[in-house]
Symmetry: C2
Subunit: 281 residues, 2 copies
């Protein structure tokens, strides 16, 4: 039985499209409505089974929905959610899927009208590909979805957002937006920045002979720069903190190398390996 009557997805890219496909497959909503600025995207989303109906009119898209998911790049979430909220019915729940949370959550908590609730969400799933054509109903399978909780979070809305995600992911985890941003700065944003930097600082003649290890480390440098400059800058303070924490260890490693301090170097490598080995178990 459907959990929700009418769910609207605002933005039908990789995440929005995959979410529509997963919601429809699990029959979590009676109707999934899609909003996009482009009718070609709506047609592709229909064809791929991501939405039941689509519109390029935001007001029409959200007016009758009990549940609205904003699945746009980070920078567009706040303006679109504000606009949508003006037309939402009483009790409607707004949520998002953005990779940086503090700014979005705090800004919307302060500015949305009282008749709607916002809960931040972030499924830790993605791909270096983007767009509705890359969407997949399996995208979230086995992943973790983080929901943000603050003193202002509406408990009913939080439960509803958890009810949507639980069937789609391995685990739903709740934490403050700040904790989310610290965590993601370390486990996702910093690794992306490093991958971009490794790929960007390697000469083309060296790239030609790059081994598999290089390809692994830099795979996520294929991610869309237009999404990632948003993410890095939206979470700028935590990304810089993660950078500086990393950088202290990084320069300590340089010292160990420069001084040929084999025992300490090996100890560091062994401890890193031990940590990493726990992750695939």
């Amino acid at each position: 039985m459907a959990v929700f009557n009418r769910v609207t997805i605002v933005g039908l890219g990789l995440i929005g499209g995959s979410l529509g496909m997963a919601i429809k497959r699990r029959r979590l909503a009676k109707t999934v409505v899609g909003y996009s600025r482009k009718s070609a995207t709506l047609r592709a989303a229909s064809r791929r089974g991501a939405i039941d109906a689509g519109t390029t009119n935001l007001r029409a898209a959200v007016r009758d929905a009990e549940f609205i998911i904003v699945a746009t790049p980070v920078d567009a979430i706040v303006p679109l959610a504000r606009q949508a909220a003006r037309w939402c019915r009483r009790g409607a729940i707004l949520t998002d899927v953005g990779s940086a949370k503090s700014r979005v959550v705090h800004s919307l908590e302060r500015s949305l009208p009282r008749h709607v609730s916002f809960v931040g969400a972030h499924p830790l799933a993605g791909s270096e590909r983007r767009g509705i054509e890359a969407a997949s109903k399996e995208l979230f399978k086995g992943s973790i979805c983080i929901l943000t909780r603050t003193p202002r979070t509406n408990a009913r809305a939080l439960r509803a957002v958890a009810r949507l995600w639980k069937p789609l992911v391995r685990q739903v985890v709740m934490m403050s937006p700040q904790r989310h941003d610290q965590l993601l700065a370390t486990t996702s944003h910093l690794p992306h920045l490093l991958a971009y930097c490794v790929a960007g600082s390697t000469s083309r003649s060296s790239l030609r002979l790059a081994p598999r290890s290089f390809l692994d480390v830099t795979r996520i440098a294929k991610s869309d720069p237009d999404l990632w400059d948003d993410i890095f800058l939206s979470n700028r303070v935590e990304v810089i903190r993660a950078f500086d924490r990393f950088d202290r260890q990084w320069h300590m490693l340089r010292k160990l190398l420069a001084g040929s301090r084999r025992t300490e170097l090996r100890r560091f490598l062994a401890s890193a390996k031990t940590k990493r080995d726990t992750l695939d178990a």
Copy 2:
């Protein structure tokens, strides 16, 4: 028809074992002899089809071979090759598979007796796993093998080593040991050091929620620290140079972030992506 009569592999780990399996499968040698300090390793290598005969006696292993491949960790190559050379017959060719070349090649070119030739080789293939049990006859398939050439390199020996590798890899490339070490510092050693540093500097509580991007970037931190401290230190000068080149870009990125310089940040990310995109085509 076999290209070589008797090939001896000194050290039967992941690379030595895989090489034995590949040579036997391609029938490149009439007999593949294996040397290991441990008879259990020799038994495993026989069982896995990596060698025709094995011995724990280095002299017996190399005495009748026309071709000896030292497939040990980098630090053991020079002492083992020197010892082996004392018992080699006239005209025997010694080669290796080490990941750092300048030190090994120069040291052996200066110290080996005149009746044997040494050619450095490095197949750009591997795995975070190690040992004969992880060996595979497919390990080198599609990869590149670098052979080192110096003014002292014996042309006949270089051709023979190329003849061995050509059927096993996608491409055999020749370059100076210095160029090899610069190249690998950038495309392999630095990425490994980064992966270790990312894994090592992330707290265990954050690791628990690490997304797939983190797993990709840190996969090679599962590599054996006992091999990698050798590689980093054998190629210390070039690794530090690669570190410093990377570090300039890395800190430039920090500045772009700290100053919210979106246009320049996006330009850097886009250029990195363009480079990386060429590699899977």
